[in-house]
C-alpha cells in the first residue's frame, strides 16, 4: 500500500541519510521524495510503498533523534515528538 509522509528533520545531510536508511531497512520502497530547507529545517515529502502496516515505519522514524515530526498525510495522523 502506498503512503504519503511529511517528515521534518534537523538541517543536516546525515539526518536525511539516517531516516532514508530506516525507510529501506523497515521494508518500504521509496517512490517519490522532495526535500526543501525552510527556517533551518529540512522538510521532506515522500511516498513509500510496502505490504507492511505504515505504523511500523512511522514509529521507527519518530524515534530518531534528528526527526522532529512525522505526519502521515492521507490519514492526517500526526506524531509530534
Amino acid at each position: 500500500m502506498k503512503h504519503q509522509l511529511k517528515v521534518e528533520v534537523k538541517n543536516q545531510s546525515v539526518a536525511v541519510e539516517r531516516f532514508l536508511r530506516v525507510v529501506r531497512h523497515r521494508g518500504f520502497s521509496l517512490l517519490q521524495l522532495q526535500l526543501e530547507v525552510v527556517d533551518d529545517k529540512y522538510f521532506v515529502n515522500m511516498t513509500v510503498d510496502s505490504d507492511r502496516p505504515i505504523h511500523l515505519l512511522t514509529l521507527q522514524l519518530a524515534k530518531l533523534i534528528d526527526v522532529h515530526q512525522v505526519e502521515l498525510a492521507e490519514q492526517h495522523h500526526q506524531q509530534a515528538i
Binding site: V14, E17, R18, R21, H25, H55, L56, L59, Q60, A62, K63, L64, I65, D66, I81
Partner: protein, 548 residues
Amino acid sequence: MTGAELLIELLAKHGVKDVFGYPGGAIMPIYDALYGAPVKHYLTRHEQAAGFSAIGYTRSTGKLGVCFATSGPGATNLVTAIADAMMDSIPLLAITGQVPTAAIGSDAFQEVDVLGISLAITKHSYLVERAEDLAEILQEAIHVATSGRPGPVLVDIPKDIQLAQVSFKPWLAADDYQPEVNLNEVAKANELLKEAKMPVAYVGGGVHAADAQKKLMAFLNETSMPAVSTLKALGSVLPDYEYDLGMLGMHGGQAANLAVQKCDLLVCIGARFDDRVTGNLSKFASNAKIIHLDIDAAEVGKRKPAEASLIADLHDSLPLLAHPQTDGSWLTHMKSMMVKHAWRYDYPGEKVFAPYLLNKLSQTMPSNGVVCCDVGQHQMWVAQHMKFNSPRNHLSSGGAGTMGFGLPAAIGVQVARPDDFVITVSGDGSIMMNIQELATIRRNNLPVKILVIDNQRLGMVRQWQQMFFEERYSETILSDNPDFVALAAVFGIKGQTITKASEVDDAIQALVDSKGPYILHACIDEQENVWPLVPPGAANDQMVTEVK
C-alpha cells in the same frame, strides 16, 4: 583546554571512572589527555573487546560504559560491539578518533566514514565538525545514550578538533518527550487483568534497563501471577518466587512454553516478542489477550498486536496495574507443570554433564556473582540451569548473539565490581573469538574466572546440522583445539582440565575458591545437545527433546 582535555574532564564530571580502549594515530591527543587523568583507561588487545568490556561495565552496574578507538580499522573493529549494544539497548558511549577535518573525504590514511557506518548500529551518532560544538555534542551524546530506551551513541572526533582550544559550555537537555501513560489503556489493562483466569507475566530486558526489579516483584508477589523470562530478563524474577517458570522460547523450559501457549492473558513487561521467544508467531499465545508495557512505542504492535498498551517507563506503568489474585486452579496447574517438567541432573554417563556442572556452579558461587556468557549451547545451558538474583548478574549477548562477548564483558564487570566473583562461561568455539583478552586479565591482575565447556565442536551449529542438515558437519569440528589450560598458563593463569562427572564437584569448588584468575576446562560429550528445542517454524508447544 584542548578538545581532548575537555572530553576527559566531561567524562569525569559525569562520574565515569573507567574507560576501555586502544590507541592509534587519530586519537593520540585523547590518549595524551588521559595520561595522569582521574579517568582510568584499560587497554584491551582489540577494539571489539574494548566495546564488550564497556558493555559488561554498564550492564553489571547501570553506569555509563565508555570505549575509545582510533580512526579507520580501530573504529570498524568497534562495530560488532556497538551493534550488540544496539540490539540489547545498552547505554554505550563510543568515542572514535578521525582524521583531521581538512582530510575528511580525501581517502586519507586510516580514514573511514565512521558516521556513515554508524547509522545502522547506533541510537544516534555524531561527527564533530566544529570545535565549538564539541562540549554540547558530548553532553547530548551521554544524555541520548542513557535516557528513554537506552542505546549506543558514537561520537567521531577529528584530530584537529581534539587539539583545538575549546571552552566548556554547560548543556541542558531539552524537555524530553516522555510518553505519558494513557489512562484509558490502564483501565483496559486492569479490566483484562480482572477477567483473566489463566494469566502469565512475560518479563523482558526492559526491567533491567529501567532498574524496575522491585516494582516487578511487587506486582508478581501481589498477584502470584506465573512468570516467564526472556534470556535478557533472567535474574529479574527473583529465584525464590514461587511461580517462576524460567526462560521461554526456542530453548525455554517446557513448563514456561506450555504455560504461555495455554494462557488467556499475557502481560508483556519490557519485552518485544523476539522470534527466538515466539517461535511461529501466528501460533504464539494464540488464546491470549495481550497487555504490553514498554517505553518504546515502536515495540508495541511491531510483532504482535496488544489489547492494551502502557507506553511509559516501567517505574511509572507497573504500579498502575491492578493486582487481582491469580485463580487458584491455574496456580495448581502451574505447580504440577513445574514438577512434571523439572530439570533432571541424574545423567547416567561417566562424562561431564554440562547442565549438572552449571547447576553446581550456580549453587557454589557467591549469590552476587556475575556470569558473562558467550554464545551457543553453553549459553542456553546457563540460562536453563543457573539462578540469578539480579539481571545485572547474568550478562548474555541476547539480540545480536555475538560469540566472543563473554571474556571481555567479564573483564569490564570485574573492573566495575572488583570485589565480586566474576566468571565467563564459554565454549571452545566462542573463547577463541577474543582469546587475546587473557593479556588484559594479566596486565590488570584481574581475578576473572573462565569456564570453557569443550565439546570440540561449534556445538549449536553442529546440533542444527545433526537435526536439520542430514548430519553434514560442515566446518563445525574443532578437534584441533589448542590446550586451553596451557594457553592460559602462558598468561599466568592457573587452571585444570576435567573429563569425568566424578571430577565436577571438586573442580567447581577449586574454581570458586581460587584467589586470582582461573580457568576450568571441562570436556563434555561431543554429541550432547540442548533440550528442549522448538524447531524453526514450529509453535512453542511442539518442543523436541531428542534426536529422532
